[in-house]
Amino acid sequence: MLTVRDLVTTYGKIEALKGVSLQVREGSITCVLGPNGAGKTTLMMTIAGVLRPRKGTIAFRGEPIAALAPHAIVARGVALVPENRLVFPRMTVLENLHAGAYQRKDPYENDLEKIFARFPRLKERASQDAGTLSGGEQQMLAVARALMSRPKLLLMDEPSLGLAPLVVEEIFRTIAELHRDGTSILLVEQNAHMALKVAQHFYLIEQGRVTFSGDPGSLAEDELIRRAYLGSARA
């Protein structure tokens, strides 16, 4: 579904991604782990079109999308739930959802009902300003807004960041449900333990390079977690 090959993204002279390649198969949850500053968020921002890659290609269902603007990529069915959520604080929850569906031409009323069914708390707070929601609720709203654009592939950048364990449970339950309903997900996550429970495939990124990829069982979890947080063992 999504093929990324030799992606190089730079901030000025600093190479944040030094040739990253990965794949997301249709209907799967693929997870990207790695220490802070490894380039995970840069990867997501590049796929979503916010950052322009210096080299390398990104193909979504065979079509190159590296040069497209974010709104064009969303139109093709790739939606990003950004790090720190990025909701519209001074607009109501309902308006946030409407904004998410802005570029859709078809009537999306029934999608709205489905979203509210999946996130009952958002229905309660529908007419409340998004800025007044709790962290967990804002995260839900960010996911819901992304879903309003009816994505085929959902990019999630550290959804559990700064949330209470109870809320993180709820987030991952939602991710599992979305997966069951057929949405492919590319998940960047700090919480390796929770992520590995839902992912079918994962990549490990350190200093802008993929250093390991495989299925959850292929590497002992404690070894994986050590490298995910502390980086590969240096000689």
């Binding site: 969303v74 308006e95 998410g100 654009s149």
Partner: protein, 289 residues
Amino acid sequence: MIDFLQNTLDGLALGASYALLALGFTLIFGVLRRANLAYGPAIMFGCYCATWAYLKTGLGLLALALIAMVGSMLAGVYVERLCFAPHRKGAAAAAMVASFALWMQFEELATLALPRHLYAFPALYEGGPLSLGRLGLRIESLVMLVAAILVGTALWGILYRSRFGTAVRAVIDSPAAAELSGINVSAVSLRVFALASAIGGLTGFLIVSGNEQVTPMLGMWSTLKGMLAMMLGGLGSLPGAIAGGVALGLIEAHSQWYLGPQLRDFIAYLLLFILLAFRPPWMNTRSAY
């Protein structure tokens, strides 16, 4: 007492024109986070197009109004494409100085096309003022007030009752989130810019036909008054723009009556300076360009 009421009435009418200007400024500021110094000159350009058309063909008021709006809109889009679209991230100073450079262009273009320092413009209404008891209200002022109310409600309707409005407010609230929600931020900004310029063109037309004359100073005047009113009402808020415009109109009308024209401007600037220095709550504290 009558003077007070009469001044208040005049102040409201003047405030209506300031509110319209401030609305245009705030719309542009909302989506771009930049002040457009060429906003007034774009309006002046539109009014000069209308004046030129009037001199050459003697068209009716309605046609002239349309020409003024379209002229201002075209000038506005030209400014947006050259000064604001290329400076998406950062470079706020560059965008502002670039808009100033275009201000100079518009001003020279105007004096080239119509070199005389002052041109007559057909009056909006030939008859005398409406008399409400012992107070007089010029018809042009009434039209300006009605226009301000109509434009205000129309804007409110667009922003709060239409899909495009939701997208505009999304871009105003957070451009980054809007882009990720599938909203083409630069297209929305361009359309908002055109809308704000059209409002400006209408305002310019009403001012020019109210005064029955057009001068190149209209550019500087509307930029200054528009920004002043926008800041008074709290940067970036549309209701604030209307409130700021009306407040400025009232302040100027009264201080002109009691203190004279020079002190009128002085009071307006002093008030803004004090407000900026002591930051009342409605002045949102977001650092803004």
